[in-house]
């Protein structure tokens, strides 16, 4: 009996244990939503980890506020710009993204040492850890990709919508990705490695006639906050309202978009916007303006949401305590008011540029990026009336500030919209916006999205950016920085409601001058605009040594054909040897200031810019076969090649699609050079390096070739131009090609890139492969890319090389066709039989149609004010009378005023043609160019008494520069031959009645 009782007892115990154990084995590990951020908790919330941004380090500190160790965290230097961190579930390692270093770094959190560096694509930003699969997800902001990293290896690379940035992961393994510059949120199911997003939500774009109402394109999305119940995701961002001239109270608005994670749609009505749900009136009876919402964090209960405002240096708090309690009946007649509202704006955080947030209990930590400190706040609690209050302004010093004080001040100016920091001379009026509100993270590829967001009529105002510049920024940067601050941000006295003193931009002195110099130091950092006027960047050094430039004649030793093609081309002699360029360059220097010349020189004479060398006084306009280069090589003299030399182009190591203006990076130092190769002034060393290259050329080839050299975007870096500061798009050759039928990678037989036409050895056979060699006695290539750069400027190249001129003209002639017809005739039933010699008694119109059939861009493209492309029409009637003529020139070579030219004409702010000063383009006066695949029809009414048959002769004519420009240039360069008028096409037709 006892035994059976024991057995029953044991059985019950066993079953109880088994039943208890089954659920714990079957249930998945508890998962909570995670999001990328620059501040992160350890799993047990005992430690705080921080990514210290541009200090290039991470820090680890105890979260226990009674532990004094928190004041001096353990800092570990990792790289250049550490943006986000994620910690694995064992808390044994973390992954940090180095935004400028293009790598992620695995850190052993126990030993606090670097475990591994993993090279990624460009600008790795967000990172989250997916515990269920023990892998990290990283967004590559500039590469437009997300990658998965597991056990130190990239296991998947997924192409995404453009500019993926912030990441968040829900407990059901949905990966949310913000697309910062496109205003989108993508959702990926990451139970398995996905190939594409399961859903992409494009945030609502609202426009209002009243420009002072919150509106615009959602941009600069960053991190994501997921509510604890995982029903909502909140996305802080700004709105860009670029459909009118920049004005500080109507161009940028702060906003927070809300996504319903159940339906995976945006709750458009719930977007938090200024004057609506962010509408706290201050004691001056004005809505408290805030700027640059950055990071968001929910309280544990989800009743409160805290958002840092990185521009105005505030924290905005939303009270969600009444979410889900609304009485639908009670509110049914009330207009919807956008849900949750801001209940407090904590003004200001003690340090500048608040970014990351962390919450624990009643405490709130805020990362202040300029002083690199962590401020500690008391949240108050989750009730509607609880208020945030400051406990310790500098609870911890997260990182040692390594940059100079001036640069740090400049950085603070760039990110700041805090009017209170200097009420007399504020950086922004009424806390509206900072430089970073548009120029995200400085001056980089995101510039392209500013141009993309341009929403005005270019005939009214073509400027994307800053109006009212004195000297295009670089010509007098202090004055123009003040101009920009005043006219765009309302600072420096423009908005005087808070006590700002009036200031004339050109009279900035004393501390303001100092502030602007500090800002300038930040703006000209290597990763921003080191040469200010041009977007050219140098990797790893401030300036190149002149001797570092290998004379291109040296390359001829093995690449004779390539050298010969290039030596006479306009890609070489486009600086001192191009008198037209020099005339415009001098005009640029005289009107805007000497430093502005770099805008032109960045593409035309990049080696001089990088070596900070003055231009030579004489060029080589008539020089054949690179004679001066060969001479310099023979005499062991250094010679910085004019134009784009072999070394220059073949050491472009990165392109940044900022919209043009030489937006590429050159690196002369990190190439795998041979012993003696850089000693360009030593004949012995050059001979030796040539022998080494001969013996083992693979490294040589590898170090001078990049995969993107065949990408048209490389050409775009110089063949697209925008005006510095105003952002007006002056040349858009790439865009014209991009929208044409020539951009057709799906059909290789129709696809033509820049090099297919302009670097092709036989113009008649464009589209066919031309076999050949690029190296003497080298590998026979199926199609050799030649380096004569056939283009529209036949005249200057023809002074040196008739063959190249013929190729240019051949290319021009292949670009268009001409048709002509008469219109206005009666219908057949109404036609009057008209005998030859009889006069027509009806209005007839001659239509001349020019088709752009061969140019994969507008005809003409480039700075088209200077390219004269027109039709000359002569109509002769039966009596041999000329009844119509158009497009003739006078005896001085000027085209008659009523000629039909195909060109664009730029106007300044007053609507007057800009002439040579095309960077002053502010409105498009006219554009009669012929788009790729398109045509233009020119109508010429015929006189009533025209007798038939009518003979019409039409010539399509071309002249590289207008006569008035040549006249002006010849005053400084009398030996410049006058460019001829070239007949490209001719058509003669006879029209009978």
């Amino acid at each position: 009996m006892n035994t059976s009782r024991h057995l029953i007892t044991l059985s019950i115990l066993f079953l109880t244990l088994v039943s208890l154990s089954i659920p714990s084995q079957a249930s998945p590990p508890t998962a909570t939503p995670v999001s990328s951020g620059s501040l992160q908790w350890s799993d047990d919330k005992q430690w705080i980890y921080s990514a210290n941004l541009w200090q290039g380090s991470i820090s680890k500190l105890p979260a226990d506020i009674t532990n004094p160790a928190h004041a001096q965290p353990n800092e570990l230097i990792l790289g250049q710009d550490i943006r986000r961190i994620a910690i694995n579930s064992h808390q044994s390692e973390l992954l940090a993204t180095d935004y400028l270093g293009n790598e992620v770094i695995l850190v052993d959190t126990k030993n606090w040492t670097i475990k591994q560096r993993i090279t990624t694509g460009k600008r790795p930003f967000g990172v989250v850890y997916q515990a269920s699969h023990n892998r990290y997800w990283v967004s590559l902001f500039e590469n437009h990709q997300i990658i998965a990293i597991q056990e130190g290896e990239i296991i998947a690379t997924i192409d995404t919508a453009e500019t993926p940035r912030g990441l968040a992961l829900t407990s059901d393994n949905r990966l949310l990705v913000t697309h910062s510059m496109k205003g989108q949120l993508s959702i990926y199911s990451v139970d398995n490695i996905p190939t594409e997003a399961s859903k992409t939500i494009t945030l609502n774009v609202n426009q209002n006639k009243d420009e002072f109402t919150s509106q615009g394109l959602p941009r600069e999305l960053d991190d994501i906050a997921i509510s604890p119940d995982e029903k909502e995701a909140w996305l802080p961002h700004v709105l860009w309202n670029f459909d009118h001239e920049f004005q500080f109270q109507s161009t940028i608005f702060p906003a927070v978009s809300v996504i319903d994670l159940i339906t995976e749609t945006e709750r458009v009505d719930h977007r938090k916007e200024l004057f609506k749900t962010i509408n706290i009136v201050d004691n001056k009876n004005r809505t408290r303006i805030v700027s640059n919402p950055h990071d968001a964090e929910f309280s544990d209960s989800g009743k409160k949401l805290y958002i840092t405002l990185a521009g105005s240096d505030d924290i905005v708090i939303f009270d969600r305590s009444r979410v889900g309690k609304s009485n639908k009946k009670r509110h049914r007649r009330k207009k919807h008011r956008g849900g949750v509202k801001a209940t407090q704006i904590y003004r200001h955080t003690p340090g500048q540029n608040p970014r990351g947030l962390l919450l624990k209990g009643s405490h709130l930590w805020v990362q202040q990026s300029i002083p690199q400190t962590l401020a500690l706040f008391d949240r108050g609690g989750d009730n509607a009336f609880d208020r945030v209050s400051l406990l310790e302004p500098s609870w911890a010093q997260l990182a040692t500030i390594t940059s100079s004080e001036n640069i740090n001040k400049g950085r603070a100016f760039f990110h700041s919209a805090n009017t209170d920091l200097n009420p007399e001379h504020p950086i922004a009026g009424d806390f509206w916006m900072s430089c970073n509100s548009c120029h995200q993270d400085g001056f980089n590829f995101t510039n392209l999205y500013l141009m993309e967001a341009y929403g005005q009529d270019k005939h009214q105002d073509s400027r994307v950016g800053h109006p009212g510049l004195s000297n295009m920024v670089s010509g007098d940067f202090v004055t123009d920085y003040v101009n920009i601050i005043q006219k765009t941000q309302g600072g420096m006295g423009e908005d005087d409601r808070d006590g700002a003193l009036p200031l004339k931009a050109s009279e900035a002195m004393g501390t303001i001058m100092g502030d602007m110099m500090n800002l300038h130091q930040f703006v000209t950092l290597p990763h921003n605009l080191p040469f200010l006027a041009t977007w050219l960047k140098l990797d790893g050094e401030q300036r190149t040594h002149p001797k570092a430039w290998t004379n291109s004649a040296q390359c001829a030793e093995c690449h004779q054909d390539m050298f010969d093609q290039w030596a006479d081309s306009n890609h070489r002699l486009m600086g001192e040897s191009n008198p037209y360029f020099m005339a415009v360059l001098n005009a640029a220097g005289q009107t805007e200031g000497e430093d502005f010349k770099d805008w032109c020189l960045g593409c035309h004479m990049p080696s001089n810019v990088m070596s900070n060398l003055p231009l030579k006084t004489e060029g080589h306009m008539f020089e054949k076969n690179g004679a001066s280069l060969k001479r310099a090589l023979e005499n062991n003299q250094g010679d910085i090649d004019e134009g784009t030399s072999c070394l220059f182009c073949h050491r472009i190591t990165d392109i940044e699609d900022a919209g043009g203006n030489a937006s590429f990076t050159v690196n002369l130092i990190d190439r795998e050079h041979y012993v003696g190769e850089t000693h360009t002034d030593s004949a012995v060393m050059q001979w030796l390096s040539s022998r080494q290259i001969n013996s083992k050329p693979k490294r040589h080839k590898d170090s001078y070739m990049k995969p993107f050299y065949t990408d048209p975007k490389l050409c775009k870096t110089c063949h697209n131009e925008f005006a510095p500061g105003t952002g007006a798009l002056i040349v858009n050759t790439y865009g014209e090609w991009e929208n044409s039928s020539f951009n057709n990678p799906e059909d290789p037989s129709k696809h033509r890139t820049c090099i297919d036409c302009h670097m092709h050895g036989d113009i008649e056979r464009i589209g066919e492969d031309i076999p050949g060699l690029s190296t003497d006695r080298g590998t026979p290539k199926k199609n050799v890319v030649t380096h004569q750069f056939t283009g529209a400027n036949h005249h200057l190249v023809g002074l040196r090389n008739k063959k190249l001129e013929d190729m240019s003209l051949q290319l021009l002639r292949s670009s268009a066709t001409v048709e002509q017809r008469l219109e206005g005739r009666l219908e057949p039933s109404q036609q009057i039989i008209q005998q030859p010699g009889q006069a027509s008694n009806q209005n007839q119109t001659l239509i001349v149609k020019i088709n752009n059939v061969g140019a994969g861009h507008d005809l003409p493209t480039g700075v088209a004010d200077f390219r004269q492309f027109w039709i000359e029409v002569t109509a002769t009637d039966a009596d041999n009378n000329i009844v119509l003529s158009s497009g003739y020139t006078d005896d001085k070579g000027n085209i008659e005023t009523n000629a039909r030219l195909f060109m664009k004409v730029f106007g300044d702010t007053e609507g007057k043609p800009v002439g040579l000063l095309f960077w002053r383009y502010a409105q498009l006066l006219s554009d009669t160019r012929i788009p790729a695949d398109g045509f233009r029809e020119e109508q010429f009414p015929l006189p009533n008494n025209t007798t038939y048959p009518l003979t019409v002769k039409t010539r399509l004519l071309y002249r590289i520069y207008p006569q008035w420009v040549t006249d002006a240039v010849q005053t400084g360069q009398p030996d410049l031959p006058t460019p001829p008028i070239v007949e490209l096409l001719s058509l003669e037709s006879q029209f009978s009645p």
Partner: protein
Amino acid sequence: MSTRQSTVPASDTLPAPMALKQRYQAWISSYMTRLAYENKTAEWVVIVLFFSGLLLWDAIPVDWAIARWSLIFHLLAGLIVFPLTTGLFWVAHRRLMLTSDKGVLRKTGAFLDAIIGTCFVSGLVLTFLGETGNLPSNLTADAHWLSGLILGPLMLVHAWRYSVLRFKK
């Protein structure tokens, strides 16, 4: 007229320049005879060239910072030191090789003749004309690589008994 056999050495009777030439030739002959048995320098040079060349082989991942110095060293040593050491030794040693009683030495020696010649000439071609990518240059590069790869081990097979690498004798 009586004749008397001269007891004076022939050279003494020759004009001074001729005597100098004869002495020089005698010295050369003596030097070359001696050199024919002095293999150490020549062997060291081949070994060093072998390993510096090996570092330039793409199959072996060597950092360019090392490989570039290896290349210039290989090139200069091959151009200057090799002819003056191994080259001279080979000239001096060839007669021994060809007249050796041992068949193995004769055979490996003859093979070495061809290999050294191929390696040296192909090296010169690569240095002065380059591995430009066309078929002759590719064949030359292959010949240099293959002959170099064979040269080292073959030399050890040929003269292991006297090799500098044979530390324990």
